[in-house]
């Protein structure tokens, strides 16, 4: 893997690091207020879609 782990984007729902290329290939991407977010899987994508502001709130701690 050429990408260093620290520079990978994080899933805002569960906090997992996500490979953006893989996420894009599987449609696990979402746009919200001009920013792009990547997700580990469908579940987190859907969760985010249901209530994006909850997960973007600075006080929200990504967890499983």
């Amino acid at each position: 893997m050429e990408t260093m782990i620290n520079t990978l984007p994080h899933d805002p729902v569960c906090g997992m690091s996500v490979d953006p290329a893989r996420a894009e290939a599987n449609g696990l991407v979402a746009e919200h207020e001009g920013k792009t977010y990547y997700f580990c899987g469908r579940g987190c994508l859907l969760e985010f879609g249901d209530d994006p502001n909850r997960y973007l709130d600075p006080n929200y701690t990504p967890s499983m």
Binding site: D11, V13, G41, R42, G43, C44, L45, L46, E47
Partner: protein, 764 residues
């Protein structure tokens, strides 16, 4: 112990597309919100969702839809061509896999042990075999490596797999022990010159490693074998259903595979054959041996309309049975599922053991390291081999595998033994609760009594018996009350045909009585209070009143019969106590339990029935409404007692749920098995003391197993570490340690097998 009116069904679905625990939460949340779902548990590792639901409010497709709504797919099941065999097929597949694994264990164990013994003989051959130490070591290297990479492979694989997770198990200990032996020996073999220069002898431990591997594997084989025996009870149950069924279709008889029998088919069962399906008798009569279900060997008479269960033995006559349930829906399949579920369940005590094992393994590794260091620092020459021997010995002797076996093996044998007597326990937690019960409350109607009242006396005030019965039976014809059925049966016995009368204007008052116009006459049947409220003058002869008073004193229920506004007579009905009730109560007392009775019936009736059963008046609660029964349970629990409630599982749901142990008796083999804590198939009340006694015996065996397994390890660890050396010169040969450890596992399993012979306390 469920409060649902329908049996809770459990379904396991493979779910695709989960990536992290958020997915798990999401699916569980969606399922939990679905109407009809009692519980949903999703496992990321196995990619399965286990859902418990009420089939009357949601079905499989509804659950699949819910999962889809959450954003996931359910992997489509391959079409089950033989749906009728799926429970058996599952068990058979599991059994074949287990048998294959057992064979592999034995083969590898014997191979490793054999090689080890040969190596040992070669090493110790008197006079030597003409090779130098260096050469001998090189020769021994070959078989030792074979054992390490062959039979010994599984320890390494498992130990390494667990390492990233921090999982230290028995495999870790064995891998460490044999690895150390092999590594040390390899070093000596490869660098003999350096080793001799350091003052270390050239003796290697190759044969030790091989023998340890062999013994541990043989020990595991013995464990697996015993587990297989314990689990066989369930498989034996399922094999009782015939594979081919004689079905009558369109007037012609055909032999059809069991999987192809459909609901509605009529099956013909000859004497001596096993009943193939669950259904109702439509022709013929016979006696059926239901012992495989209820444990009672006395054959049960079956006539037209009676239900029979697949797997029971038809004794004497020819029966034709209309199929009501096939395959996985049959009582037998449900029992098998329940027993399997119970056998696999986690007992609270087992969770405690697991926690102990968690710190035990690292603690042992520490002790081994400590003993190694101590010997190296203080030991007599040759230090290194001695230190190594003791460290390896500690690692091996401390293996906690016997502890891990203590509960599951006892549980397996126990559930199998219970099932053989028609006692089904829901899971291990229920078993533990059953063992700790102090008080047993019996519901009266339908549990202590048969739930089938009969007319015991006909009291005439005006007119004659046939007229009285005709009027009463006619009025009761449209009533579904059990008393009505009793009255109609009594009329039948008097030669009357209740169907012949002209009956109109039927009305029933719950708790009061019934009225109807029978052959033009106005008939009321009910309690004295009801008749008075209807304007009937309760004029009766003194003899009649005396007879009624006597009947009530006996505990009978009395209904009065009035025709055209005048009292004509009364009927006394009694709900017989089950013949074995008193014996069951005595057995409970002998176990040190306190029997109670609760009923919605009136005080006089309750007193009589209680006395006949052997329950003290102080422990009889009468006139308790269904809602208050749960409160009654709570009241006794408040005194610190652990309460078991015995009922029919249908009408006393809240009380059963409130109790520490809910016992359902007499639900009959034709009712789907509800998930009470303890279900008694058949209706012999003595199964209650037997079940509680078995639970206690099981807990006793589990405690014995744990003490033995743990104590044994703990005692021998210091010996392996060499604590006796300064006094007696004893150390523990690691090979012996392996043998001893295998022996402890075997003795735990053997001890558990003792439960097979459990006998309930004798009466009298």
């Amino acid at each position: 112990m469920s409060t649902a009116t329908e049996p809770i069904t459990e379904l396991v679905l493979p779910v695709e597309g989960m990536t992290c625990a958020s997915c798990v939460n999401r699916i569980e949340r969606f399922l939990g919100r679905a109407d009809g779902v009692a519980e949903a548990s999703v496992n990321l590792a196995s990619e399965q969702a286990t859902v418990r639901f009420d089939p009357s409010r949601i079905d499989r497709s509804g659950i699949v839809e819910t999962i889809k709504a959450a954003g996931y797919d359910v992997r489509p099941q391959p079409a089950m061509a033989t749906r009728g065999r799926s429970v058996e097929a599952d068990l058979d597949a599991t059994e074949m896999a287990r048998a294959a694994e057992r064979r592999a264990l034995l083969r590898d164990g014997l191979l490793a042990t054999g090689i080890g013994l040969v190596m040992m003989v070669v090493t110790l051959w008197p006079g030597g075999i003409g090779l130098t130490m260096e050469q001998l070591n090189l020769v021994l290297l070959v078989p030792a490596t074979i054992v390490l990479l062959g039979p010994g492979r599984r320890f390494w694989i498992r130990a390494l797999r667990g390492l990233p997770h921090g999982d230290l198990t028995m495999d870790t200990l064995v891998a460490l022990g044999t690895g150390a032996a092999y590594g040390y020996s390899l070093a000596i073999t490869m660098f003999p010159a350096a080793v001799t220069a350091a003052g270390i002898p050239l003796d290697t431990f190759y044969e030790t490693g091989a023998i340890i591997t062999g013994f541990v594997l043989i020990g595991r084989w013995l464990e697996a074998r015993a587990k297989g025996q314990a689990a066989s009870a369930v498989r034996a149950l399922l094999r009782l259903r015939p594979a081919m069924v004689r079905v009558v279709r369109d007037g012609a008889e055909a032999m059809v595979p069991a999987a192809e029998v459909m609901v509605g088919d009529v099956a013909r069962v000859r004497p001596g054959e096993r009943v193939p399906v669950d259904g109702a008798v439509v022709e013929g009569s016979s006696a059926v041996d239901e012992s495989m279900l209820t444990g009672e060997s006395a054959p049960v008479a079956k006539a037209i309309g009676d239900r029979v269960t697949g797997g029971t033995l038809n004794a004497s006559g020819m029966l034709q049975v209309r199929t009501e349930r096939v395959g996985d829906d049959t009582t037998l399949a449900q029992i098998a599922r329940l027993v399997e579920h119970a056998q696999g369940s986690k007992a609270p005590i087992q969770q405690l053991v697991d926690r102990v094992v968690e710190w035990f393994v690292p603690a042992v590794a520490l002790v081994a390291a400590l003993s190694f260091v101590t010997w190296m620092a203080l030991g007599p020459e040759p230090r290194l081999p001695l230190a190594l021997t003791s460290a390896i010995g500690v690692l091996i002797i401390a293996c906690p595998c016997a502890m891990g076996l203590a509960t599951p093996t006892a549980l397996m044998v126990s559930t199998g033994r219970g099932a053989a007597s028609g006692i089904l326990v829901r899971d291990a937690a229920a078993l533990e609760r059953a063992a700790r019960v102090d008080v047993v409350i019996f519901d009266k109607t339908g549990t202590l009594t048969r739930g089938r009242p009969e007319v015991t006396e006909v009291v005439v005030v005006d007119g004659d018996v046939p007229a009285l019965l005709n009027a009463a039976a006619g009025a009761e014809r449209s009533s579904e009350h059990p008393l009505a059925a009793a009255v109609i049966r009594r009329a039948g016995r008097a030669g009357l045909d209740p169907e012949r009368a002209m009956v109109t204007d039927f009305a029933a008052v719950p708790g009061g009585g019934v009225r109807a116009t029978v052959d033009g006459a106005d008939v009321r049947v009910g309690s004295a209070r009801y008749l008075t409220a209807e304007g009937v003058a309760m004029d009766a002869t003194s003899e009649a009143l005396a007879a009624v008073a006597a009947a009530e004193g006996r505990g009978d229920t009395v209904v009065w019969v009035a025709v055209d506004g005048r009292v004509r007579g009364a009927l006394a009905l009694s709900d017989g106590l089950r013949p074995e009730a008193a014996a069951a109560v005595t057995q409970l007392r002998r176990l040190g339990l306190e029997p109670w009775m609760v009923t919605g019936d009136r005080e006089p009736v309750a007193r009589v029935v209680g006395a006949a059963a052997g329950i003290a008046p102080a422990q009889t609660m009468a006139e308790v409404s269904p809602a208050d029964k749960a409160a009654a349970v709570t009241a006794i629990q408040a005194r610190g007692a652990r309460v078991a409630m015995v009922g029919d599982g249908i009408n006393d749901a809240p009380a059963l749920a409130q109790s520490d142990l809910g016992v359902a008796v007499g639900t009959g083999a034709d009712v789907a098995i509800e998930a009470s804590d303890l279900t008694v198939l058949g209706d012999d009340l003595r199964a209650v003391p037997t079940g509680i006694g078995l639970a206690r015996a099981t807990m006793r065996i589990i405690r014995q197993n744990l003490v033995w397994a743990f104590g044994y390890n703990v005692l021998l660890i210091p010996v392996a570490a060499g604590i006796l050396y300064p006094f007696t010169g004893w150390t523990l040969n690691p090979a012996l340690a392996a043998g001893a450890m295998a022996l402890s596992s075997v003795s735990v399993v053997t001890n558990s097998l003792r439960l097979r012979r459990y006998r309930p306390p004798k009466e009298g």
